[in-house]
C-alpha cells in the first residue's frame, strides 16, 4: 500500500492508502478527521469544503496523491486553540447553524472568500455554491459581512484566526475510535487544540463516573 504524506492543520501526517482514494475518505475513514462532511461526493454540494495551500478545495473530488506534500486545512484547524476565527465568531453571533451539517464547509468557503477580498460584494457572496438545506442563507450572508467588518477593525485579543499553534498530542490523549492506534494518533494530531481540550474534558467527566 502506498504511503502519502501531507500537512494537515499544521502537522505532518501519513496515510497508507491507494493514491486515487479521495481526500475526503482519507481524512474521515483513515485519519478520523470528520469536520469535512459528505453531501454529494461529486463537488456540487460543497459540504466538504476545506483549504489546500490556503485556497478552497473539495476533498471529495481530490485524489490523495494530489495533496502529497501540500498543506490541507480543515474546519478543525481554523481556530487558534480556543480562540475562534472571526468568521466562526460571526457564525455564533448570527446564530447561523440549524442542523449544522453544511456549516464547516460554509465557513471554510467564507474564509477563502475573505482571503481573496476583504469586503465581498453581495454578488461575490451569491457565488458561494455551498448548499444549506435548512435554508440559513440570509444569516450566512449577514455573518460573512459581520466577519468582514471584524477583520477590518481588529479588536483586542488574540483571535486572529489561521491554522496555527496546533500543539502536539500524545497518543494516550486520543479517543477510542476503533481506528488503529497509528492512524488515530495521526488523525487526532490534526484535530487541533480545541478538540483536544474537549476530549480531555470528556475524559475528566468520565473519570467521575
Amino acid at each position: 500500500m502506498p504511503q502519502y504524506s501531507f500537512t494537515l492543520n499544521g502537522k505532518t501526517v501519513q496515510v497508507d492508502a491507494p493514491g486515487d482514494l479521495s481526500v475526503l475518505w482519507a481524512l474521515r475513514d483513515k485519519l478520523g478527521v470528520t469536520g469535512p462532511k459528505y453531501g454529494c461526493g461529486i463537488n456540487v454540494c460543497k459540504a466538504c469544503t476545506s483549504h489546500l495551500d490556503g485556497k478552497a478545495f473539495n476533498p471529495c473530488v481530490t485524489n490523495l496523491r494530489d495533496v502529497a506534500g501540500k498543506q490541507v486545512t480543515t474546519i478543525e484547524g481554523l481556530a487558534d486553540g480556543d480562540n475562534l476565527h472571526p468568521v466562526q465568531e460571526a457564525w455564533l453571533e448570527q446564530d447561523v447553524a440549524q442542523c449544522g451539517y453544511c456549516q464547516p464547509g460554509q465557513i471554510m468557503a467564507a474564509v477563502a472568500l475573505l482571503k481573496r477580498t476583504k469586503n465581498p460584494t453581495d454578488e461575490e457572496i451569491d457565488a458561494i455554491e455551498n448548499v444549506c438545506r435548512c435554508g440559513s442563507y440570509f444569516r450566512i450572508r449577514e455573518a460573512i459581512k459581520a466577519a468582514a467588518a471584524k477583520m477590518a477593525t481588529p479588536v483586542a485579543g488574540p483571535a486572529t484566526g489561521g491554522a496555527n499553534g496546533i500543539p502536539d498530542v500524545a497518543p494516550e490523549q486520543l479517543p477510542a475510535t476503533g481506528l488503529d492506534a497509528k492512524t488515530a494518533a495521526v488523525g487526532a494530531a490534526a484535530l487541533g487544540a480545541a478538540a483536544v481540550t474537549a476530549l480531555l474534558r470528556d475524559d475528566a467527566l468520565a473519570a467521575e463516573d
Binding site: R28, G32, C40, G41, G100, R133, G135, F138, A176, A195
Partner: protein, 761 residues
C-alpha cells in the same frame, strides 16, 4: 399539585452512574385540550359564517399530546449532579430545530439557573414511553412544555426543601439564584444538596411552576447551545461516530427502478478482489458492499454487475402519475354562481437533508444496537427486532443528532438496512447512502393534484371547496410504537399496498387534523383522495399543508382580485381569528405592502395557521426574466402563542422561506420509467445563496395565547403562497404547476449502474 416519586435509578435505560444523585419522575399537570368555540367572535358581519373545522379545535398536535398522556409522567427526567450541573436526556430528536436549546431554556428558567449549567442530550429509545417518543407534527415544544417545567420545578422544590432542612430557614424564605439556594444569610451550591434532596423524606414537597409573566429567559432571543460545536467541526453526526471498534463501511448498490430486487450478482469474485473490499451481502433493498473506507465501498458498488427484477412502478413517470391523480380526484360538481377556481399540481419533492441516510448497527446473535438520527426510535427498535427474529426488548436504539430531516427521519430505513447488513455479515457496520441513492431511492413528498374553487355571490365568498388527490403518503411508522405501525413488509420491495392495510384512515386523520382554512369563506370542504402507488414517500415539512394551503393562498389572491379587494385587506377581513388578522397586518407593515414596484418586480403575500400558531410572509420577487426569478426581499411574522426562543423561531421561519422558494420555483423530481432522473443537488434545484433574498426581516409576536404552538413546519405553506403570488403578479400569469420552472436541464446519471462518480481531478 403533583405527585413526586423517587425515580428508580435501576430502571433507567441509560444505566446508572454515580454522577446522578437527584432523579425524579414527576406527574405533570394536566394539559387542557379545550374545544375553542369562540373562534367566530369579532368576525365582520358581511362575512358568511363558517363552521369551525376539525383542525381549528383539535389538531394533530393535540392528538399526539393525548396519545402521550399516559406516559407523560415519565417523559422528562431532570438530573442534578454534584457539580451543580443539570442534565436532561430529551426523548425527542434534534435535527436542527433547536429543541435542545429551547428545552434547556425551560429548565434554566424554572430552576433559576444560568443556561450554561443545563445540558440537554438526546435519549435513546425508551419503549416505556409508547406513543410519546415522536418528533413530528411540530409537536416537541407543545408536548414537553408542561412536563419539562413541572419536572424542573420539582427538582428545584426538592433542592430548596433540602436546604431548609440543613439550615433551619423556612422553605418560603429560600430561593434559587444562579445555581445556589440562598436565603436567611445562607448560600449553598445545589451540587452540595443533591443527596439530601433525593431523600424520600422530601417526597411530599409541594411543587409550583413559575407564573409565565415572571419569565426572564423564556421568550428572550437565545443563540443555540450547540452552535460552537458546529462551527468548529466538533458536532458529531452518525457518520462521525465510531462507537464500536472494527466498523466496516457499507454502501448498497440499488436497483434501476424503485423497489426493484436483486436477481443475481454477476461479478462477485472480481469485486471481492478490489482494494479494501471486505464482503458482499444481498439484502431486500439491493447488494451491500463492505469495505475499509466509504471511498472503496463506493468503487465496489459501482463496479458491481447485478441483474435485477422489476420494481413496483416501472412504467410510471410524472405524466402518467398526474393522469392517475386527475382521474382519481373527485370533480367539484356544477358551479352555482360566479366561481374563482384553479387546478393545480405539485411534483414529488425529495427531503434531501444534507446528511444522507446513515446508520451504524452492531448485531449479535440475539440482540444488538443501532445508532442513527431517528424521530421514532421505539418503533425502529421494535421493527428491527421483528425483522431479525429477536425478542421484544433485545434492540437498543441510540438516537444521534441528525443533519437535517424535514420529515425524512420519521422513517428508519437506514437503521433497518444497517441492522440487516450487520446480521448478514456478522460484523458491526456503518452504512451510508450516496446522495444519488438518497434522491432516487429515498423518500419524497408525494405528488399531488388539486381542484380549488371559491363561489361568490354578490360581494361575498359563500362556499369554498378543495379536492386533493395525492400519491399515498407512507405513514407506516404509525405513532412511533409497533402497535400503531402498519408495516408487515416495511422496508421490503414486496410492500403491501398501504391503504389496504388500513393506512388510509391514518392519512385521513392526519389530513383532517392538520389542514384547515384560516378564513371565513362560507361552508368549506377540504378532502383528500390517495392514489395507490407503491413508492417511497413520507411526510415532508408541513405534510399536506404546503401544497394544499399553498394552492389556496393563490386562489385567495384571485378571489380578492375578483371582488376588487386588496389581497391583504381581504385576508384581514375574512380571517377566522383576531390573532390571524393581527399577524397579517403586522407583516404588511413590516414589508411595506403596496409600495410601487418597477415592471417585472412584485410583492406577494401568504398566510397560514396550524398547530395553534400562524405566520404571514410578504416577499418581493424580481421576475424580469420569468425563467430566472429571484426572491429579493422578505418580511415574515410569526405568532406562536407563547414563543420560547424567538431566535430559533426566526431560524425556522427563514428555513420555511427557503423551502418555499425552492419547491415553488425550481426544485422537484421527474419520475421517469420508475425512477427519479434527479440524482444530486446539481439536478434537484434546491435554493442556493444566489436564489435567496438579500434582505429578510422577521418579527415574532409577543405571547398571545399563553401556550406554545407548533413551530417547525408553520412557515412553509404561507411562504409558498407568497412566492407564487409574487411571481403571478410580476409576470401576469396564474401559476398552476409546481415547481414553476421545471425543465430537465441536466444529463441524468445512468440508471441502474449506480454510477455517480465524477472522475477525480
Amino acid at each position: 399539585m403533583s405527585d413526586l416519586q423517587r425515580y428508580d435509578e435501576q430502571s433507567d435505560a441509560a444505566g446508572t452512574s454515580r454522577r446522578r444523585f437527584l432523579t425524579y419522575l414527576v406527574a405533570a399537570p394536566t394539559l387542557a385540550v379545550a374545544v375553542q368555540y369562540g373562534l367566530l367572535d369579532g368576525v365582520a358581519e358581511a362575512v358568511v359564517p363558517t363552521q369551525p373545522q376539525p383542525a381549528d379545535n383539535f389538531d394533530l398536535g393535540d392528538f399526539l399530546i393525548l396519545a402521550g398522556k399516559s406516559t407523560e409522567d415519565k417523559l422528562i427526567v431532570i438530573e442534578v449532579d454534584k457539580a451543580g450541573k443539570v442534565h436532561c436526556a430529551l426523548p425527542r430528536e434534534e435535527v436542527g430545530q433547536g429543541i435542545t436549546t429551547s428545552v434547556a431554556m425551560l429548565i434554566a428558567e424554572e430552576m433559576d439557573l444560568p443556561l450554561a449549567s443545563v445540558t440537554v442530550t438526546l435519549a435513546p429509545a425508551r419503549p416505556e414511553l409508547q406513543y410519546n417518543q415522536i418528533t413530528g407534527g411540530s409537536n416537541t415544544i407543545r408536548s414537553v412544555y408542561g412536563p419539562t417545567r413541572t419536572a424542573a420545578a420539582a427538582a428545584k422544590a426538592r433542592l430548596i426543601a433540602a436546604a431548609a432542612e440543613r439550615t433551619g430557614v423556612p422553605r418560603a424564605r429560600l430561593q434559587m439564584r444562579d445555581g445556589d439556594v440562598v436565603g436567611g444569610g445562607h448560600s449553598i451550591a445545589i451540587g452540595d444538596l443533591t443527596e439530601a434532596a433525593a431523600s424520600p423524606r422530601l417526597a411530599g414537597v409541594t411543587v409550583a411552576v413559575k407564573d409565565p409573566s415572571t419569565f426572564t429567559l423564556v421568550g428572550k432571543p437565545t443563540n443555540r447551545k450547540d452552535a460552537r460545536a458546529m462551527v468548529t467541526g466538533q458536532q458529531k453526526y452518525t457518520n462521525d461516530l465510531e462507537p464500536v471498534p472494527g466498523l466496516l463501511r457499507a454502501m448498497v448498490r440499488r436497483p434501476p427502478t424503485i423497489n426493484g430486487t436483486v436477481k443475481a450478482i454477476l461479478n462477485e469474485a472480481a469485486i471481492k478482489k478490489m482494494p479494501g473490499i471486505r464482503g458482499l451481502a444481498i439484502i431486500p433493498t439491493g447488494v451491500a458492499v463492505l469495505a475499509d473506507t466509504f471511498g472503496q465501498a463506493l468503487d465496489g458498488k459501482e463496479a458491481l454487475e447485478v441483474s435485477w427484477n422489476p420494481g413496483t412502478v416501472d412504467a410510471e413517470d410524472n405524466k402518467s402519475i398526474l393522469s392517475k391523480l386527475k382521474a382519481l380526484n373527485a370533480p367539484l360538481g356544477p358551479a352555482l354562481g360566479t366561481v374563482v377556481e384553479g387546478e393545480f399540481d405539485f411534483a414529488f419533492v425529495n427531503h434531501a437533508p444534507m446528511e444522507t441516510i446513515t446508520a451504524i448497527a452492531d448485531i449479535k446473535a440475539d440482540h444488538g444496537t443501532v445508532w442513527a438520527g431517528m424521530k421514532m426510535p421505539i418503533v425502529a427498535a421494535q421493527f428491527i427486532e421483528d425483522d431479525l427474529g429477536f425478542a421484544r426488548g433485545s434492540m437498543t436504539a441510540i438516537v444521534t443528532q441528525g443533519g437535517g430531516s424535514f420529515g425524512r427521519r420519521l422513517f428508519f430505513d437506514g437503521a433497518l438496512e444497517a441492522a440487516r447488513i450487520s446480521k448478514a455479515v456478522g460484523k458491526p457496520v456503518k452504512l451510508m447512502w450516496t446522495r444519488v441513492d438518497d434522491m432516487r431511492h429515498g423518500r419524497a413528498r408525494a405528488a399531488s393534484h388539486h381542484l380549488v374553487r371559491a363561489t361568490i355571490t354578490g360581494n361575498d365568498v359563500v362556499r369554498f371547496e378543495h379536492h386533493v388527490a395525492s400519491v399515498e403518503t407512507d405513514w407506516r411508522h404509525g405513532l412511533g410504537e409497533i402497535m400503531t405501525a402498519n408495516g408487515a413488509a416495511f422496508g421490503d420491495p414486496s410492500v403491501v399496498p398501504i391503504s389496504a392495510g388500513g393506512d388510509a384512515t391514518f392519512s385521513q386523520s392526519v389530513f383532517g387534523s392538520t389542514v384547515k382554512s384560516p378564513y371565513n369563506l362560507g361552508p368549506t370542504t377540504q378532502m383528500l383522495n390517495e392514489a395507490n402507488l407503491v413508492m417511497h414517500t413520507g411526510a415532508w415539512r408541513s405534510v399536506y399543508s404546503a401544497n394544499t394551503r399553498g394552492a389556496e393562498e393563490i386562489i385567495v389572491d384571485e378571489v380578492a382580485k375578483a371582488l376588487g379587494k386588496d389581497p391583504v385587506a381581504f385576508r384581514i377581513e375574512y380571517a377566522k381569528d383576531p390573532r390571524y388578522a393581527a399577524v397579517i397586518k403586522k407583516c404588511a407593515e413590516l414589508g411595506s405592502w403596496g409600495k410601487a414596484m418597477p415592471t417585472g418586480f412584485a410583492q406577494g403575500f401568504g398566510f397560514h395557521a396550524e398547530y395553534k400558531s400562524c405566520s404571514a410572509y410578504l416577499v418581493e420577487i424580481d421576475a424580469r426574466d420569468p425563467m430566472k426569478p429571484r426572491v429579493i426581499k422578505a418580511a415574515i411574522v410569526g405568532d406562536y402563542g407563547r414563543p420560547i426562543n424567538p431566535r430559533g423561531l426566526e431560524s425556522q421561519l427563514l428555513g420555511g422561506l427557503t423551502d418555499a422558494i425552492s419547491t415553488t420555483l425550481r426544485a422537484g423530481l421527474h419520475i421517469d420509467k420508475g425512477l427519479a432522473l434527479e440524482g444530486s443537488y446539481s439536478q434537484f434545484h434546491f435554493a442556493r445563496q444566489k436564489d435567496a433574498p438579500r434582505e429578510v426581516k422577521i418579527h415574532i409576536m409577543p405571547p398571545t395565547t399563553g401556550d406554545p404552538g407548533g413551530a417547525g413546519e408553520l412557515g412553509v405553506p404561507a411562504a409558498v403562497g407568497a412566492v407564487a403570488n409574487a411571481y403571478a403578479r410580476a409576470t401576469h400569469t396564474k401559476p398552476r404547476s409546481f415547481p414553476i420552472i421545471f425543465p430537465v436541464d441536466f444529463t441524468p446519471f445512468t440508471k441502474g449502474t449506480g454510477s455517480t462518480r465524477v472522475q477525480p481531478r
